[in-house]
Each structure stands twice: as C-alpha cells, then as structure tokens.
Symmetry: C2
Subunit: 329 residues, 2 copies
Amino acid sequence: MAQRDIDPELRRDLLTGGWTILAPARSRRPGGGRERRRRGPCPFCPGNERLTPPEVWAESEGPRPKDGPGWNIRVVPNLYPALIENPGAGGKAGRRIPARGYHEVIIHSPRHDLSLERMDPESAYRLMRAYRLRYRELCKHPWVRQVLVILNHGREAGASLEHPHTQVFALPLVPRAVREELGSWRRAALRGCPLCAAVEEARREERLILENGSFAALAPFASRQPYETWFVPLRHGEDFSRAGEAELRGMADILSRVLKGLAELLDNPPYNLWLHSAPCDGSEHAYYHWHLELIPRLTVTAGFELASGLFINPLPPEEAARRLRGLTG
Amino acid sequence: MAQRDIDPELRRDLLTGGWTILAPARSRRPGGGRERRRRGPCPFCPGNERLTPPEVWAESEGPRPKDGPGWNIRVVPNLYPALIENPGAGGKAGRRIPARGYHEVIIHSPRHDLSLERMDPESAYRLMRAYRLRYRELCKHPWVRQVLVILNHGREAGASLEHPHTQVFALPLVPRAVREELGSWRRAALRGCPLCAAVEEARREERLILENGSFAALAPFASRQPYETWFVPLRHGEDFSRAGEAELRGMADILSRVLKGLAELLDNPPYNLWLHSAPCDGSEHAYYHWHLELIPRLTVTAGFELASGLFINPLPPEEAARRLRGLTG
C-alpha cells in the first residue's frame, strides 16, 4: 500500500531446474526481516477491515457493507503478495517469467483466538466450503495451473499474524512438489492408486490415526518429520473442487480432531497444513488423489535437508500414530 | 552411549519417491525435542574428549595421547548418528533399507568461540584439508555413494552445539538434491558446463560477490533465500577429493571473506553451508562441477515451501551481491 515495489517474478535455476519466486514486496511484511511480529491493531479483526486490501468475498448472516464488520468468514488479497494479477513483462527465454497469479487470505472467523480445532463443527464446515469456493474460482482463470491452500499456524511455522487464517496461492505453473507426485503416481497407476493403497497399508501397519465416514488420517510410511499426518478422502478423486458436502463435513471433522490431539499432546505446536489437488491445467489426471498434508514444526531443519533434499526424522510414524490415536476422540 | 535405540533406516515414500532417514537416536540429542541448547560442559572443548565417541582422526603439533587434549582439529563420530556402519537388516522390497553410512563431526579448533571467518588463514586452510581428508576416506567404502560436508552455524540453522564444527555424512545412495543437479547438468552438458556458465553470467549481470585466484563467490540467478551464495572453483572438476592445495587455500580465503561480510552486514546470522561433489559411485560425471552453497537462515520457511517445493525470496540477488561486495575486502 506504500511505495510500489518491483513486480514479483519467477526465476528458474539452470542447475537444478527449480523455480524461485522473487517477491520484493514480501520484505515489508511483518516478520519479513528478522524482527518479531508486527505491533498495532490486528488487520484481520472486525472493525479493522480498512487495514486489508478490499475484500474479494465474505460470508455473513445478513446484509452488511462491503469491507465493514458483520462477517463470519472474509477473503482478502494478501497485502504482501508473492503473485499478482498483472505483473510487468518478464524475459530471458523462459528462465524468468512474470509471477502472475493470485495470493489471497481467508480469515477463518472474526475471533482473534479461535483456532481451527476449537471452531464449532458448522463453522469449521463453512470454512472448508470457503476453501472450495476460492479453489474453484481461482482455477477458472485459464492461465492458472495450480491452486495451493495453505494454513500456517504459529510463528515458527511462518505465520506472521496470529489471527487464524489460510492462504491461497494461484500459480501459473505446476510446482515441483506436485510434479513429483504426478510423476510417481503416473508410474504407479497401473497397480492402482498409491494413496488408496497407502490408506489400506496404514490400517494394516498401525499407522492409521483416525477414520470417519469420508476421511482417513494417517502417519505416512516415510514421515519426514515427527507427527507428519496425511488426510485422505476415502473416495478416490483427483479434484478438490468436486468435493461434496459430506466430504467437506468429514474434512472439517477429521482436521479438528487431529489438531485437537496434536494441541494436547504437544502443547499447541506450530504447524503447516496444505491441500494438494491435481493441476487445473485442463488435462485429466484420473490417477491423482487429492489430499491434505500436515507437518508440525518441532525441529529446526538444518543443512542436511538443504544439502540432500532428504529429511531426518527421529520419531517412527508407527509410534506417532499410537500416541495420537488415543487423543482424537 | 546410553540405551541402544532402534537402528536408523531409510524409508522411501511411494507417492513422491523421496527418502527419509528414520533415526530414533537423534531424538536424544540436545535440541532434538523443543528444548533449548544442552547445558553442561562442551563436549568439543579440550579436556572433555571423553564426552565424545573415540576419535577417528586428529591433527596436532606434536605427539599426544589419543582422545586427550593437544589437538588442533579433531574428528569424531556423531554421538547421535543418522547413519551407522552396521545397521540391522531392512526389508520391504527396496522401500526400507538400513541407513548404513557414517556420520562424523569435524571440530574446527580447540577454541569454543572461534568461528570460521575469524580463523587465521593457515588454520582455515588446514580445516579445508581435513574436509578433503574425511571426504576421501569415506568415499573409499565401496557402498558409499555420496559424501556431504555440512556446516550449520547458529541455533536457528540447526546447530545444537555452539563450538564450531562441521558434519560429514556418508550415504548409501545419491540424495535427491544431487540427483536433480546431475539430471539437469547432464541435459545441459552439450552446451558446456552450466556452473562455469553461471560464473560468466554472474560477472556480466553484477551478481559476482568476490573472486580470488581459484574461486568465485556469486549470488545465483534464482537465489532461494536472501544472500544465498555459491562458491565455485574456477577450474572445472567433478571431484572435491582431487582439489589441489592452491584450491583449498582459495576456498578457505573466499569462505572467510564472504562469511566476514555476512557477519558484519547481518549481525552474525545463522547459516547452512554445504559442499556438493559428484557421487563417488564409480561412474564418471565429467560434466559435474563441485562447489559449495550457503544459505543464511533469515526467514522462517513456511507452508508454501513445503506445499510447492518452491522458495519465495524477497531480496533480488543483484541487490544482495551489491551489498556484500563492499564488505568482503
């Protein structure tokens, strides 16, 4: 909202093929440097709506003025966007492209201290509906290839604001983490969906944490970090935008219960939670199975992870699942 | 040294193809949970040699008792190893293999507070020689595929002990980060070495930080984080074990000068520094070019990095190089 920064751009590393988003505007956000959280009024609390860019969507009980109070869920563009709708021209023969996209924030509720696991079931379900709504809307842009829905909880997990919120990134390319999944799933698809198989295997190998009518929560076989958890819809489907109402209710229920268990077991740990769905690039990915992944941030990843691309995990997932199972009732 | 933990193992994720090292022994190390640094005497200080496993190698001026004081550089096995020489049998058809390998610590000097950039040139050169020595030794094991040399500085960068030290990991497989480099370099090799080209490009595009007779330090085009720096030997070569004395002196010099600049500019930031050399798997990788990479840990990586595999960097590398250039004299 202050001076205009250089537009964000995507740069590709010739040595690894990996992309970085160069987003100078992000340096001005709270916590963008080494300082602590921002001070001053919370821009996500009711009454402070003028502190965010104009809202994109909101849910309310009755009529209310746009960008005024009275909402239950509110969606705004990120004030420090990593991607913007109309960036300047790029260049350099495909190694440097404009970071064209959207970067939104879904404010979970008017309450500054109401984390997801303590929302009532109906409000949590409505939040999942807001996820699906923004996912659907952003996928409609023909040049958007991937939409990522990401919840960062706690400062050590990168949340620069405390008020519970979720970020939605619409990207002009399929990012590496999804490309890797697509690659191995395509190779595995002849033997059936590997994520459906992972649920079966988790049941057999005591890595299942919880199941409800539509979702399973499991500790994956090669968990990267202690208490890594996957949330898998029991009905195979590639596309989150086609999730039904029962699935959204099941998703709200299983997230709430596992997060409650983690909060109790680990004293409200910081965590990252994200949703992976097939790219919205117009092609079919019938072998893909949308899901959510969660990693609590209990340890500092060090040079080994950067140097190798592997993780070191001190806690066997069988043990993590055992500890969590009793606490998710 | 206390109870025997379950042996470490490598597990492969069927959905992404990525490997995790499951190393229960690591949970007992200082900082392995959420607690702060360990208390009590520093196991890397002279006089406390009994607090580490028996030493593997040491450099001293004159004769001294093994595992006694009087050393200048000391190499010991990691007390909380991620890989061990003789792990129990694995299983599960290639998805689960014993984490066979070595995990060593090179203690830089007897001084608890002497960070690399403040060592005198001769001592820094001798430390680089110790890197090469351990690299060579560990590569000799026929089942070792990759040796990684990694320096973590500061608690936020994963260093659980303050006393300056470097870790050496000998792995039974080529890790993802190196496989990715090998893949794109092989594809690019017809047009010449991409790292030699990156040095040329950095000179042209004002991303060069510093050069001496044998090394260049540069801010890479697609820097993942503010002040990411690559250290590239000017003589193309795939294999760190064949680095000559002049190269080791040049490496000590350029590391010291850039680290001094970073310490001044950013008030002694935490960082990870690691060395990538071609796999020691018996095959030729003539197109590969060994090098070091450094990333200061100034920001918390959040859910976006995990969800996408991409980084968001608020500082253009051209600007990072400009700021560092004046401080590396």
